[in-house]
Structure formats: C-alpha cells, structure tokens
C-alpha cells in the first residue's frame, strides 16, 4: 500500500535534516519509541511500544537510510518481523526550502503481510496518519526548541558479532524519556495529519507489528 503526502516544518532544510536524521531526536519524537540503537553507518535498531485502541503492542524493527543527498533527499528502508506477520517499507523522502521553513515530501511504499493485512486498509492508514501527525508535531517542537530535553544518553559497549562490525563509537542507544502512547493529536498539529514520513513510517511499522503481537493475547 502507498502513503503519500507532505508536511511543512518551521526550519530551513539543513536544520530539519539534522533533526530528522538525528537518532537522539528520533528516539524522542517517534511515537512510542522505547529505544533506538545505532548499529552501523545509517543503520538503527529500534523498539516501539504502541497503544492505539484496537492496535497495540511492542515491536522490534530495523531502519536503514540510503541515497542521502544532504540536505535535499534520502531513502529510508524500514522493516520489522513479528511472529504472525511482517512489514517492509521503502520511503523516498525529500526536503525543499519553502517560505518559513521546509516542506518534507514523502511517498511510502509499504508491504504488509500476515493476519494484520486482514483488518482493513482504512484502519491501518488511520493509525498511520495519527502516528505521523504525532511525529511531525514532535519534530516541529524540537525545531522550535520547545521539546522536552533529551533523556539520559546511555553509551553501550556491545559485542555484536558479524564481520561488518561498526566502530564502537557508532554503537549508541538513545531512549525516550516519555514514551508516547498514542492518544489524540493536538489540534495545532492537525494540518500535519497528512500521512507517514520518516519516523512516521517507522512508527507505522511499529504499529503493525505491535498489532500483530497484540493479537496473540
């Protein structure tokens, strides 16, 4: 399924880029993000806890950024695998300077598998739009400097095996002080309820897998 749209954020592209690719910020702004661990150059592993009515649960997934043309565009690859199903999303994202800020435009192509695909597209996109709205309003708050300060940044010295092991310096875990649990999007963020982009898709992936896990109860 496809999710297209755009959102205008109140800062120049360079600044927006810095923010929406900063794992520490993403950890704070992705709705329900419990932790986000950088596991390599532009690669992250994350945990998302989601609590939207019919769709809830927690999930682990991976995100990888490619084709980066800072500060104008990049492609995000997100994937997750819960026991009852799996989700994969490829999201070309572009940043363009506009009056008073940056227009972030995206076109998400997501593949949903397993029983979760049976709940109906409107339900899935409905949740996705809500998560995206929350993400964007949080990002905008970051840009406006009104966001809650970052939680404790915990350095991890893990010993993950694998040949392409990144330098220790890159292995860091960011956590979210106040895990978003869904709920209503503030009215001022409504103009941003346009669909999933960046972390929105991450959250969306989380939502789906979370739903899968939730179903197993």
């Amino acid at each position: 399924m496809n999710l297209d749209g755009s959102a205008v954020l109140s800062a120049p592209p360079e600044e927006v880029w810095a923010v929406i690719t900063d794992p520490a910020v993403l950890a704070r702004t992705i709705p329900g993000c419990v932790s986000l661990e950088q596991v390599g150059e532009d690669s992250y592993r994350m945990h998302v806890a989601v609590g939207v009515g019919a769709i809830r649960g927690s999930y682990a997934g991976e995100v990888h950024l490619t084709d980066q043309q800072r500060p104008s565009s990049y492609v995000m690859h997100a994937s997750g695998a819960g026991a009852p199903g799996q989700v994969r999303a490829t999201v070309p994202i572009s940043l363009e300077a506009v009056d008073g800020g940056t227009r972030v435009t995206y076109s998400a192509d997501a593949v949903v598998g397993g029983p979760v695909a049976g709940v109906g597209q409107r339900m899935i996109t409905g949740v996705a739009k809500r998560m995206a709205g929350q993400f964007f309003s949080a990002i905008d708050a970051e840009l406006a400097g009104t966001a809650p300060t970052a939680g404790p940044v915990e350095a991890v010295v893990s010993t993950t095996d694998g040949s392409a092991e990144p330098p220790p310096a890159l292995r860091t875990t960011f956590t979210n002080p106040a895990v978003a649990t869904g709920g209503w999007v503030p009215t001022e963020a409504r103009p941003l309820l346009v669909g999933a982009a960046g972390g929105g898709v991450l959250a969306l992936v989380g939502v789906w897998i979370g739903y899968l896990l939730g179903r197993r109860r």
Binding site: V52, G120, R122
Partner: protein, 810 residues
C-alpha cells in the same frame, strides 16, 4: 396415488419445536462469534467523497474496518444480475460495499467487525463519511418523468421494456363496441418476515473450508455465489439454512452483500463472524415490492365480454435490478387471470428509483396484475350496468377449454398454458360461500346500524412450481429410520410435515420414522430454491419419486429373501410382506441391512449382512452389476412448464361514516391448488396470505419523502394488520389435479395474498360509491375521497337489487 396420509390434515411436526423456543434461527448460532455491523448511507443518492475512521480507532474491542478498497478479485465487481433477460437492456447492481456512489438510503458503505455487536455499532457510529449529495428520484412517476437519472448512464431511468402481445390490439380496440381507458396505482409494501436476514461464517484454516449459515431461501445458490466471489472451490464451501423465521420472497435474493462480506471477514480474521439484521436495516437495505402505475385500455361488447386489452405498466424496480425483470413478467402474464382475452398487449417499463431494491414479495407481481384485471372487470360491469359476478362469468375460460394457451411467455421462459382448472366452479362456490345475492338485505341491515356495507370479489390464476428442477434423497437405515433430504429450503411452511407425509405414504412406513432435512448443502447439493409456490410441486414430487425408487429396490431385495415376486409384495407399517400371506414377511429395516453386504459386523443387525450369515448365491457377486449397496435412492423432478393454480376471493366490508374506519367483516376464499397433500397446511397458507393481502390493501405502505428517506422504517410507524384486523376466513377447496406432475399438485404458498387489494377495493367502492383507483387506502384517504367533488361516482347497479347505494355521503 392415494394412501391414508396423502390428503390428511396431519398436524405440523415442526410446530412443537418452533413454538416452545427450540427452533434454531440464525442468531442462535455462534455465541462466540465476532460481530459485524454496517455503516449505511444516510442519503438516497450521493457520491462518497471520504471515509475517516480516526474517531473509531480508540474503541476498545474494535477488530477491523472494511471498505470497498478492501474488496479484491470478483468481490470488487458488481453483485450478480441473477436472472438476465434480453429485454433487461440496462441491468444495474451495486457493490458489496459502496464504491463511488450510493443509490439508496441504507446501502452499505463500511463494515465494522468487533468483539460484540454493541462495540461494532459504537465504532461504526464514530466513522465519518463525507458525501456529496446528488439529485434524488423517488416514486414511479418521478422515474417516468426522468428529470434526473438514478444511474447517470441511464438517462430515462428505464432498466427494461418488457413487451408481449397476442394480436393486433389497435385493430381489435377499434373494432370494439365500447372502450374504457383509465390509470391506477399500487403502493409499495414489503414482506417483513419476523426474522430478518442474518449470516454466520466459520473458516477452518486447516481444512481451508468455509461453513456459512444464512437465513436464505436458496442455500445451494448462495453456496455457488460465495465460492465464485471468494474464489473458493465449491466443495470447500458449505451453506446451511437453519430454521428461517419467514422469507416471503425477500430471502430468495442472493448473494446479499452480507452473505459475501461476513465470510470474507471470517477468513481474514481467522475467527467466526456473525451479522444479524436489525429491523431498521431490514426496512432500508433489504427489498420491497409492489409499486406500479397502470395505464389500461379495454375494449368490450354490449354484454361486457372483453374484446381487447391494452396495458402499459410503469414498474418501480428501485435502485438496482439483481432479480432481473421477473416481477414485470409475472405481472404481464398473470394479469389476464381466468379470463379469455381475445387480443392482449402489455408493456411493462421497469424503472430505476433511489429507493430500496424491488424483488419478489409473496405474490411477486400477481397482486398488481390481479388488481389491473379485476378492477377492469368492475368498471365494465358498472358501465354496462351488469352484476360484477355476471360480467366475470361471461369472460371466464370454460372447463372444456383446458389446456388453455394464453400465447404468452411465463417467468420460467415457458409458454403460459393453463394445464387444468374449473373457473366456473370457482365462481359458483364463491357466490354460495359469500352469499353474493343477499347483499341487498345486508346493505339495508348495515345502513340501519349506521354503517356502509359493500361487497367485492376478485379472481386469479397463479403460475406455480416453475423449474428448472428440485431433487430428493430417501434412505432407509438399519434402524428403520427413514432419512429424507431435499436442497430446497424451508421458512416455516411445514415442509418437514408434508415431505414426511409423502414419503411415508409412498414407502408404507410410519410417519414417525421419517426425518426430513431441507436447505443443507451437506445433505443435498443440487437445488433451486423456495419461491413461486414451488416447494410442494417441485420437492414434493422429487421426494415422492425418490421414495418410489427405494420401494422398488426394497421389494427386489425382499423378494429374494421371501422367495416371492416383487409384484406380490406390499409394504405396510414398515413391514414387507407377501400379499395375503401374513406369516411371510421381513421388516424394511432388515431389508436395509441386507442391502449393504458386510464383511464386518458392528452390531446384532449387521451380523445378518456378513458373509457367513447364511447361504449366499455363489453364482452372483454380493452386489449385482449396476446395483449399489444401501437402501437409498435419489431422484429429480423437472417440469415441462409451470402448473397453474387458481382461486376466487369475496369480501364484505363495513365502513363507519363518522371515522371512515374500514372493517373487513367477511372474507371468503375458494382455492384450487390441485390435489391437496395436507388441507390444514394449505388453509394455513391461505390464512397467512389473506392477512398480508389485507395489510397491503388497508395498512402497509413505504412512506418515502422526496429526499428518499423512508419515514416509517419501524414497526411503530409501518402498520401491519394484527389478528384484530384479519377477518375470519371461510375456505372452500376445489381440486383440479395437475396433469403435469406425478402427484397432481399445484402451488399454494402465495395464493392468499393475490386478490386482496382488488377484492377489498371493489368492496369499498361498492360501499361508498366512489371510484377507488389506488391502493392501499386509509380511513383519511377514504374520507378525503368521499368529500372530493372531483371523485368519480360509481354504482354497482345490479339487476337483482335497487340502487339504494347512491354513495351515502351525497
């Protein structure tokens, strides 16, 4: 064929179960099922712009939300046009869930599934659908005017122009001594079964098999539709009609969107899903019938004999045409009734409106046809000053004219040939039953009591038992139990009783030993359905033929054992014995055991069929070539064409000139459905039909406003006759056996409703002396009619009585 059970008023064996709450209706099934609820269009004609489910997401217990976007493959295509016809030039059907445009209030737009119905309804209520309203077409006249189009690619709103003629009507009319032209209307009504529709689906993920229970009149066809739409192999789909709390035609339509969507959800969610229609849903999203505008021109001679009849009907088919033009065809062909009409031309224009679909409701176009013909007879009588019964008699087909070919093509695609009947006999019995000639005294007596009395009558011929076929399976078990099954469904008519009567009669077993199963594709896969008064004619003959097959095999096997000729054997009370030799006999249950040669004995009875049980004939194989093990037989009945039942109703009404309340004080029915299997059940069918006829004549209508909103979509506002409004019905039977089927049967299911509006209109007109040109009629409408100077004054001047009825209000 006659035995002691055929023709006996055997008590309905299903009643005990049904009246003490032991019935198993759709909603009694699947207590743990998830529940589906539907968000339906609040507009009669609108474009669906957006569906926002955000508000529903937080509802605890919500499981899924489906819209058109979730439909795939054949399910995303329009619902089937069940009965295509060359004259149905612009068939239109909706989608299981609205795609772009909704065509009537109540059309399903979103399906919500939740842990229970309450949660599903709550979630549905929080979904916001944005509509762009479009112009609305309501009523047959608006459709005819075509200022707006229901379907934009059908600008004149005409779905079909059905046309039949038996000669040059223009010439015949020109040559007629007298002619009359007039227009009249029949309103909408609906079947209103006590139990609405309902569907329960269970998906077995391991077997990849689907079982669907649905409150339907056509389980085998629903099965085929589900298999096709959900792309499942037919043998992986089972469809069962449990006890059905009334159908009256509305449940012959299929597949209803819910019959596809509920199974779809059950498969997607891997859990049982159920939907039970509520009453408002039934009003706005099932089906209605009846509305027609009838333009009639009739030519006749001095004696009131019809010389030519030209009819142009405008039939409101609602928003879609899933059931084709069956109702227009039935109206067109059954209109002529029991009369010999030398030249007849009929055109029925079936038109779209932004209202609930129109499909057969008990009578299925016949009440309207009867209304057209019988009111025509009354007008001729009034214009000629001849008694209404006399005019009818002069036009009746005579006994020596059967088989009588009306030179028309019926709804089964076969010729309208009346196979047998005695219409003169009907009229004689009816006049005696209602004491037609005593109306003078009764009118005087009523006027002395300050009431207006009127009498009316109507006759009809009903094509029943159309094909293509039905089948029956009969099996005798080693226990002596006799299993009977037919694919045709039941909806409370008493099939269990009648089919058991027939099989017990044919086989010579106690009726208590016979068990009947209907409408279960696990038991019988080939069937058409329950409609057009066809159950007794079709399945009745089929199970009788199957029973005859079992009897023949039983006699063959018993003959070997008893060393007698099959011809010398009889079966009585489950015992096969040699005629006149009481001692030599063998129980039918033992014959059943012996019919299946066994290697392994599992009980005492089985021992008799094992290889060392007795001396066998070593020159033959245990199962003869061409034979099969088991005492069972399957057979089918497929008629050459429909068989034509007939009847005549007469009614006496009394009207209170203060309130204009209309009381039906006497109702007489003479009924001919060929050989009667069970007179008690036939009379029950007639009583029910008369009740619905009275409802259609005096109470029931669909009160649509100009915006296509149904304003009386509840039992608070939609009037139906109670027992207090249904008159005592006196019935006289006439039996002219049908030469077309082995049992000589004709259908009886719909007869009672057909002449109701025509006979009651005739009686009211007789009482108040004002033309009744539209039915139903309420006390208020009657009051206005009598006071209107424009109202057409009429009298039924009868040679036998002075015209004291000057329309007493004059």
């Amino acid at each position: 064929m006659t035995t002691k059970l055929f023709g006996e008023p055997v008590r309905r064996r299903e009643d005990a179960r049904l009246i003490i709450g032991q019935g198993r209706y759709l909603d009694d099934i699947g207590a743990d099922a998830h529940a589906a609820a539907f968000l339906r269009s609040p507009y009669a004609h609108a474009r669906v712009v957006d569906i926002d489910v955000t508000g529903a997401l937080d509802v605890e217990g919500l499981l899924a939300i489906y819209t058109y976007a979730d439909l795939t493959g054949p399910l995303a295509e329009p619902l089937p046009v069940l009965i295509p016809h060359p004259q149905l030039t612009h068939p239109r059907t909706g989608y299981p869930l609205a795609k772009d445009v909704v065509q009537h209030v109540g059309e399903a737009v979103v399906m919500v599934v939740a842990t229970d119905r309450y949660v599903a309804e709550d979630a549905a209520a929080l979904i916001e659908v944005t509509y762009e309203e479009l112009p609305v077409v309501v009523g047959v006249d608006a459709a005819r005017a075509a200022l707006h189009a229901v379907h934009e690619d059908v600008p004149d709103n005409v779905a079909a122009r059905h046309h039949q003629e038996t000669g040059d009507v223009a010439v015949a009319l020109a040559a007629s001594a007298h002619t009359l032209s007039f227009t009249q209307y029949v309103e909408r009504s609906a079947a209103m079964p006590m139990e609405g529709k309902g569907v329960h689906a269970r998906w077995d993920a391991d077997d990849k098999a689907l079982r669907v229970y649905t409150s339907t009149q056509a389980s085998t066809s629903v099965r085929a539709a589900i298999a096709a739409k959900l792309q499942l192999s037919l043998e992986k789909v089972e469809v069962i009609a449990p006890d059905v709390g009334g159908g009256f035609g509305v449940k012959i339509v299929h597949p209803w969107p819910e019959e596809l969507l509920v199974p779809m959800a059950a498969i997607a969610l891997g859990h049982e899903v159920k939907w039970t229609e509520d009453r408002r849903e039934h009003f706005i999203s099932s089906a209605h019938e009846r509305q027609q505008r009838q333009e009639i021109t009739v030519g006749y001679d001095d004696g009131g004999r019809v010389t030519a009849l030209d009819v142009h009907i405008w039939h409101d088919n609602g928003a879609y045409t899933p059931y084709g033009i069956i109702i227009p065809i039935v109206t067109a062909t059954q209109l002529v009734g029991p009369y010999a009409v030398p030249v007849y031309r009929v055109q029925v224009d079936s038109v779209f409106t932004n209202t609930v679909i129109v499909t057969p409701y008990r009578g299925a176009g016949r009440p309207q046809g009867c209304f057209a013909m019988e009111r025509t007879m009354d007008r001729i009588a009034q214009e000629r000053g001849i008694d209404r019964a006399e005019v009818r008699s002069r036009n009746l087909i005579q006994v020596d004219q059967f088989p009588y070919d009306q030179h028309l093509t019926f709804q089964d695609g076969r010729p309208v040939i009346y196979d047998s009947g005695d219409y003169v006999g009907l009229m004689d019995k009816l006049k005696a039953l209602i004491d037609w000639d005593s109306v003078v005294e009764r009118r005087a007596d009523a006027e002395a009591r300050g009431r207006l009395l009127g009498i009316g009558m109507a006759m009809y011929v009903e094509g029943t038992g159309p094909g293509p076929y039905e089948g029956g399976h009969v099996q005798v078990l080693g226990s002596g139990k006799v299993l009977v099954s037919t694919g045709l469904t039941s909806q409370g008519q008493g099939h269990e009783t009648v089919f058991a009567q027939l099989v017990a009669s044919e086989l010579g077993v106690p009726m208590e030993d016979v068990e009947v199963t209907t409408g279960d594709t696990r038991r019988f896969g080939y069937a058409v359905g329950t409609f057009a008064s066809r159950a007794a004619v079709m399945s009745g003959n089929a199970v009788a033929l199957a029973a005859r097959g079992v009897r023949e095999k039983a006699l063959r096997i018993a003959a070997d054992v008893l060393e007698a000729e099959p011809a010398d054997l009889v079966i009585e009370d489950g015992l096969v014995q040699v005629k006149g030799v009481p001692g030599t006999s063998i129980p039918l249950r033992t014959v059943a055991v012996l019919s299946n040669p066994l290697r392994y004995a599992f009980d005492e009875a089985a021992k008799q069929a094992t290889q060392f049980a007795g001396p066998g004939d070593n020159s033959k194989p245990p199962v003869a070539v061409g034979d099969a093990p088991g005492l069972e037989h399957t057979d089918y009945y497929s008629p050459i064409r429909s068989t034509f039942a007939s009847g005549a109703h007469a009614v006496v009404v009394e009207i209170d000139p203060a309130t204009w309340e209309i009381d039906v004080v006497q109702y007489a029915v003479v009924h001919d459905c060929g050989n009667v299997v069970n007179p008690m059940i036939v009379e029950g069918q007639v009583h029910g039909g008369v009740a619905q006829g009275v409802g259609g004549a005096l109470y029931e209508r669909m009160a649509y406003d100009a915006d296509g909103q149904l304003q009386n979509a509840s039992f608070m506002d939609f009037l139906m006759p109670y027992a207090s409004e249904v008159p005592p019905v006196v019935i006289d039977h006439q039996e002219t056996a049908s030469p077309l089927n082995p049992l000589g049967l004709k259908g009886a299911g719909e007869a009672g409703v057909i002449p109701g509006s025509a006979a009651i209109a005739s009686a009211i007109e007789d009482a108040v002396g004002r033309r009744i040109a539209a039915m139903p009629i309420s006390p208020t409408e009657l009051y206005d009619l009598v006071r209107s100077s424009a109202a057409d004054r009429v009298t039924n001047t009868d040679p036998t009585l002075p015209t004291l009825n000057t329309g007493a209000m004059a």
